[in-house]
């Protein structure tokens, strides 16, 4: 069964360092997303990506964040200068488009900023 894969599963970094989280969405999907979940809190939308550009972003997704689909398979989230409050589980998700809300989530990348 096709699945969304994310790497790394856990990353520890120092405040101010750059971090890149990687995702391989399901191959025939067209819509790609990043969500995050701070420990004990709700799953929050960060950004959606369609047709090689950002289609929507939240207030959380400020200039420190960027996304890229550098080739036909990878989808990355970069945080330029990490802050303590960026510590969270980051989920990549993809959708086929037929049912826009039926998303397939990866297992997440846990980011710990010290």
């Amino acid at each position: 069964e096709p699945e969304v894969t994310q790497t790394p599963s856990h990353q520890v970094t120092q405040m101010g360092q750059e971090v890149i989280l990687r995702c391989v969405p399901i191959s025939n999907h067209l819509y790609f997303y990043w969500y995050r979940q701070i420990l004990g809190q709700k799953v929050e939308f960060l950004v959606s990506f369609y047709n090689n550009e950002i289609s929507e972003k939240s207030e959380i997704f400020d200039d420190q964040f960027s996304v890229e689909r550098p080739d036909g398979s990878n989808f990355t989230l970069k945080i330029r200068s990490t802050k303590l409050e960026d510590s969270a589980m980051y989920f990549c998700a993809s959708g086929g488009g037929t049912n826009i809300g039926e998303l397939f989530f990866g297992e997440g990348s846990r980011l710990t900023v010290l």
Partner: protein, 110 residues
């Protein structure tokens, strides 16, 4: 602003003891209401989509229903493997983002 409130926060059931989880929502132009299951340390897993009031969907021991203000996830004769956090999310009129509730943590004991 679209909002989702789920209750209860946590629910403990004995195996076979049926119950319901609630999801109340406010949204500008509901395009869809979604239920997801999340196991500890994992990403959410899609369960159901509901589009309009009166709609019902079923899968094994789960049934989801929708009114104009809330949705219920009914669990009939639950088993320990149904233990998980159940998330409700809505998609409003603008954009494709999902707005999630905080979830209900369900524990089913044998």
């Amino acid at each position: 602003e679209d909002q989702v409130t789920q209750s209860p926060e946590a629910l403990r059931l004995q195996e076979g003891e049926s119950s319901s989880l609630n999801c109340s929502y406010t949204v500008s132009g509901l395009r869809g209401l979604f239920w997801y299951r999340q196991d500890p340390g994992k990403g959410p897993e899609f369960l159901f989509t509901l589009y309009s009031a009166g709609e019902e969907k079923e899968k094994e021991r789960l049934k989801a229903t929708l009114t104009k203000k809330e949705s219920f996830l009914h669990i009939t004769a639950p088993k320990p493997e149904d233990s998980a956090t159940y998330l409700c999310a809505v998609q409003g009129a603008y954009g494709n983002k999902l707005v999630f509730g905080a979830g209900t943590i369900l524990r089913v004991k044998s």
